[in-house]
């Protein structure tokens, strides 16, 4: 039967239409002969029509497609998106197995230290390329290319190719590059595609047992070794159920790669069958349990997202209370939330001033060989000194100290 059929399997990927920006729809009709035939409609045809055609030819060649008719409806997509959509269409046609059409890569940013500042992590839906390119400009500590909840089950395959290309081709500025994978076993496919591009952190959703972490860790280690990736790839677990919360410490300590743990409040409240309220009283226990487990494991505790993007005052209050509870960061669903959260997580000038005084007194005592640190007439306990040292270090990393100094003791506190 198949011998006479000219069209093997018609497939398509991506989106087009008047409301779509920075994406494209690709329809692929593989053939037995006749070479590559490209039909192109593009809102940027006058500027990049030739370039898009040349790229389509090249991508198809890299994927081993010699004969096909390809229809492209382009809404101003960037080259890394065009490559991803064509590759997705090819794979959906059951072709191009074992091949990848990788876009030109930008230099990798510096590797992440495990205790990096992670106040904000900006979620970017893995199927919406228009949000990728400028995400880093808004200054989040991290971006998350999300393959999980933000992606419809039917689009998982295309999203992981797009996210892989974004990891290669998009400059996210100083932001740490995170990817949220799907639950296993689907998540294995995500890892195969994205780990070769050395993301800084893999977010594991809906973790309930340490074994889930171990399974991800094992696969990450395998792929990283195979691809000779010589920089750390960290893990972050998201606990989204009552059981996950109960196992928080075991999960936090399951892997050397684990650097942070977060909570997903939508799923958690659903699991409990309670309403998620604005002030979050129903999840207070879970959040505190997670904070405690994370600190016990010497990793970071990060809060959920604040989903009302119109309510900046509510966000600010939530973030301030999160900091007060011991969280070190939050998720963001809109770039405008970033400066608000950064502000909330930054120690206040009064806190910094007080901490600097304590640190100065501590250094003075050290210098004089005194066992007791005192500030004025007050004796300072050791844990207070420790907390002050930590706060000054935090403030320094957030740029809240003004110009860097060689030691806090040099600052005149009069």
């Amino acid at each position: 039967m198949a011998t006479t059929a000219n069209v093997k399997t018609r497939s398509e990927a991506g989106r087009s239409g008047p409301d779509v920006r920075s994406d494209l729809r690709v329809v692929l009709e593989p053939r037995d002969a006749g070479g590559i035939e490209i039909e192109l409609q593009s809102r940027v045809a006058a500027y990049y029509g030739d370039s898009i055609r040349a790229q389509a030819q090249q991508v198809l060649a890299e994927l081993g497609i010699q004969h096909a008719r390809i229809t492209i409806e382009d809404e101003g997509a960037l080259p890394f998106v065009i490559a991803a959509r064509i590759e997705a269409a090819v794979r959906r046609a059951g072709l191009g197995q074992g091949r990848r059409a990788l876009p030109e890569s930008v230099p990798l940013p510096a590797a992440s230290p495990c205790d990096r500042l992670r106040r904000t992590r900006l979620y970017l839906p893995g199927t919406e390329p228009k949000y990728f390119i400028n995400a880093g400009l808004h200054g989040p500590d991290a971006i998350i290319l999300d393959l999980e909840d933000a992606v419809h089950p039917a689009e998982k395959d295309a999203a992981r190719i797009l996210v892989r290309n974004a990891l290669r081709a998009v400059d996210f500025g100083g932001a740490e590059r995170m990817v949220r994978i799907n639950q296993l076993p689907l998540g294995y496919w995500d890892l195969e595609e994205v780990i070769p591009e050395a993301p800084d952190v893999v977010l594991i959703p809906k973790v309930e047992h340490p074994e889930q972490v171990l399974a991800v860790e094992e696969r990450v280690t395998q792929i990283a070794a195979r691809c000779k990736i010589d920089r750390p790839i960290w893990l972050m677990s998201i606990l989204e159920s009552a059981l996950g919360i109960e196992n928080a410490f075991a999960i936090a300590t399951a892997s050397e790669r684990m650097v942070a743990m977060s909570i997903g409040l939508e799923d958690y409240t659903a699991d409990l069958g309670v309403v998620k309220s604005a002030e979050g009283r129903e999840s207070m226990y879970a959040r505190l349990r997670l904070v405690n487990a994370a600190h016990a494991a010497r990793i970071q505790a990060s809060d959920s997202v604040y989903s009302d993007v119109g309510d900046m005052d509510g966000l600010s209050r939530w973030a301030e209370s999160a900091r007060a509870l011991g969280f070190e960061g939050m998720g963001c669903v809109h770039p405008l939330q970033i400066p608000v959260i950064h502000q909330a997580f930054q120690p206040s000038p009064a806190e910094i001033e007080k901490a600097l005084k304590i640190v100065a007194a501590f250094e003075e005592a050290q210098r004089r060989g005194l066992g007791v640190v005192s500030l004025g007439s007050k004796m300072i306990d050791a844990p207070v000194v420790q907390r002050a040292l930590k706060l000054v270090e935090q403030a320094r990393r957030m740029g809240a100290l003004g110009k860097p100094t060689s030691g806090a003791g040099n600052l005149d506190t009069t």
Binding site: G49, S51, H334
Partner: protein, 521 residues
């Protein structure tokens, strides 16, 4: 039609026709190089003996009025655009002319809007010969495709006044939509159900046209107070049920963009104004109603409050954001050229510190100075800007007519001109090697603020040193261009344009700055 034209290369190196619509043209000579001579044009002397002794100039309908004004083939009819996309009067006038069997009119609006797409049919039918005025949307496409019989002439708001007063354009009949008027012809835009605020764009028309018809849907007994158009210039008054769609005349509320990328640009602009030391007590600025312009005002407002700084005046395009500045005492005055939202209209009607202005006071280069020279900083848009800071605001990079010039060219004379633009739109880089259509010479553009950084014109060493050491992302313009071309996958192809001119862009002194060419198929 347009073939057989002779061209000359102007001082900006652009090829421009030396004759447009039968009138000789001076090619652009360089900024400040043309010295005009001779007197202004003057309207005919009229006498009260020819007008109703009781001052009641009402006529029953527009056709009667046009007939009374002697409308005939080949005349020039003008309209103002204060009713924006809600305007019904321009089409009403031209359609009435069509019913009267008139042909070959020149339509001379202060700007056109998509609501006036019906003029295309009138051009097809021969009623309208061509348009001299901004063209965008369907009219822009029609002109770009070379379908208009004459050449389009694009002028700035100040340039339109200049062309009228210098006698380059003679208006036979001005048809002025008036939200409120009295039977004598006094008219204002601040009152009535179709209120639009200022009527400044109609002022030159009322002063220089042979005949002036005021069309209103809110007739009040004499006197209409305040009057922006003086009834002493008006021939007749026509009452109609509606001059337009109030919902499209002003927006109920203007909203700041929520696009984080555009907000980033606005934030860069505001920080630049602050850190360059432009924001200081007694300073002044101009802002329009575009998304970035509104957002920058909001950022600047916070910075002014923090620093305890007050402006002496702001120039509008007024919106509720400017009105709030006025109410909070952050500016002494709003000098308003056009009014974009309801809050602006109400403020102008009730607050004497919110002053309507005209293109004569604000923009006209052929006067003894103009207000915009006194503005410290203006924030403008552009479709393209090149590495020498030359900018395009009228055509898309593919050559299609997209926007009118508006007050854009006139604003370039401010102390500091900032173009607030995204570094690319839909993969199309905004910073280019050479602009498709030159609308503003680079020597007058000081700063290009994008989401990826701020470029300062190297000519402005003072600004460069003013922001030296600040945390602003100051970068050479070529640097931003390179980054964006890398993101977009190389330099874009150049547009394929025909050798057929479809419009010209005038500079503020009436010389021809550039030519708009017919787009390819």
């Amino acid at each position: 039609m347009n073939n057989g034209l002779e061209f000359a290369q102007n001082a900006a190196g652009r090829l421009v026709p030396i004759e447009v619509n039968g009138r000789k043209q001076a090619p652009f000579l360089g900024v400040g190089q043309r010295r005009p001579e001779g007197p202004k044009t003057a309207p005919l002397v009229r006498s009260a003996r020819d007008y109703p002794a009781n001052g009641d100039k009402r006529l029953p309908d527009l056709e009667t009025a046009l007939r009374a004004c002697g409308l005939r083939d080949g005349m020039t009819i003008s309209n103002h655009h204060h009713l924006r996309d809600g305007d019904a009067v321009a089409l009403m006038a031209l359609n009435t002319a069509a019913r009267m069997g008139i042909r070959d009119l020149m339509w001379f609006p202060s700007a056109s809007f998509p609501a006036q797409a019906g003029v295309i049919e009138l051009m097809e039918a021969g009623v309208v010969h061509h348009i001299e005025g901004s063209m965008n949307g369907p009219l822009g496409d029609y002109c770009s495709q070379g379908k208009m019989r004459g050449l389009g002439v694009l002028r700035s708001h100040g340039g339109r006044w200049q062309a009228i007063q210098d006698g380059e354009v003679h208006i036979d009949i001005a048809v002025i939509a008036a939200p409120t008027a009295d039977p004598f012809g006094n008219a204002t835009g601040t009152l009535g159900k179709s209120a639009c605020g200022s009527l400044g764009f109609a002022l030159a028309d009322s002063m220089y046209a042979d005949r002036v018809i005021v069309v209103t849907d809110n007739l009040v007994p004499f006197p209409c107070v305040p009057w922006q158009i003086s009834g002493n210039d008006v021939d007749c008054v026509v009452e109609v049920s509606s001059i337009g769609d109030p919902a499209k005349i002003v927006s109920g509320t203007t909203q700041i963009t929520r696009s984080p990328d555009r907000l980033k640009i606005a934030e860069h602009v505001a920080r630049f104004i602050r850190d360059a030391g432009i924001m200081r007590n007694g300073f002044s600025f101009q802002a329009g109603a575009g998304g970035i312009a509104l957002a920058f005002v909001d950022y600047l407002r916070g910075m002014m409050k923090d620093a305890g700084v007050k402006a002496r005046f702001v120039r509008g395009g007024s919106t509720r954001y400017l009105v709030e500045l006025l109410r909070e005492g952050l500016t002494d005055y709003i000098l308003d050229g056009q009014t974009f939202d309801l809050a602006g209209v109400q403020s102008m009607a009730s607050d004497p510190r919110h002053v309507p202005t005209s293109p004569f006071t604000s923009y006209n280069y052929h006067g003894k100075g103009f207000f915009n020279q006194l503005v410290d900083v203006v924030v403008l848009g552009a479709t393209e800007v090149d590495v020498n800071f030359n900018a395009n605001v009228v055509t898309h990079s593919d050559g299609r007519l997209l926007h009118g010039i508006g007050g854009w060219q006139n604003c370039l004379f401010a102390g500091c001109t900032i173009l607030a633009v995204p570094s690319f739109r839909d993969r199309i880089p905004v910073i280019v090697d050479e602009v498709t259509t030159l609308t503003g010479p680079g020597e007058m553009i000081d700063v290009v603020a994008t989401e990826r950084g701020i470029a300062i014109n190297p000519r402005r060493e003072d600004l460069l040193s003013a922001v030296n050491g600040s945390s602003l992302p100051i970068r050479p313009i070529q640097d931003i261009q390179r980054e964006v071309e890398k993101i977009c996958g190389g330099k874009p192809q150049r547009p394929r344009l025909r050798q057929n001119p479809v419009a010209v862009v005038k500079w503020v002194d009436g010389t021809v700055l550039d030519t708009v060419w017919q787009v390819g198929d």
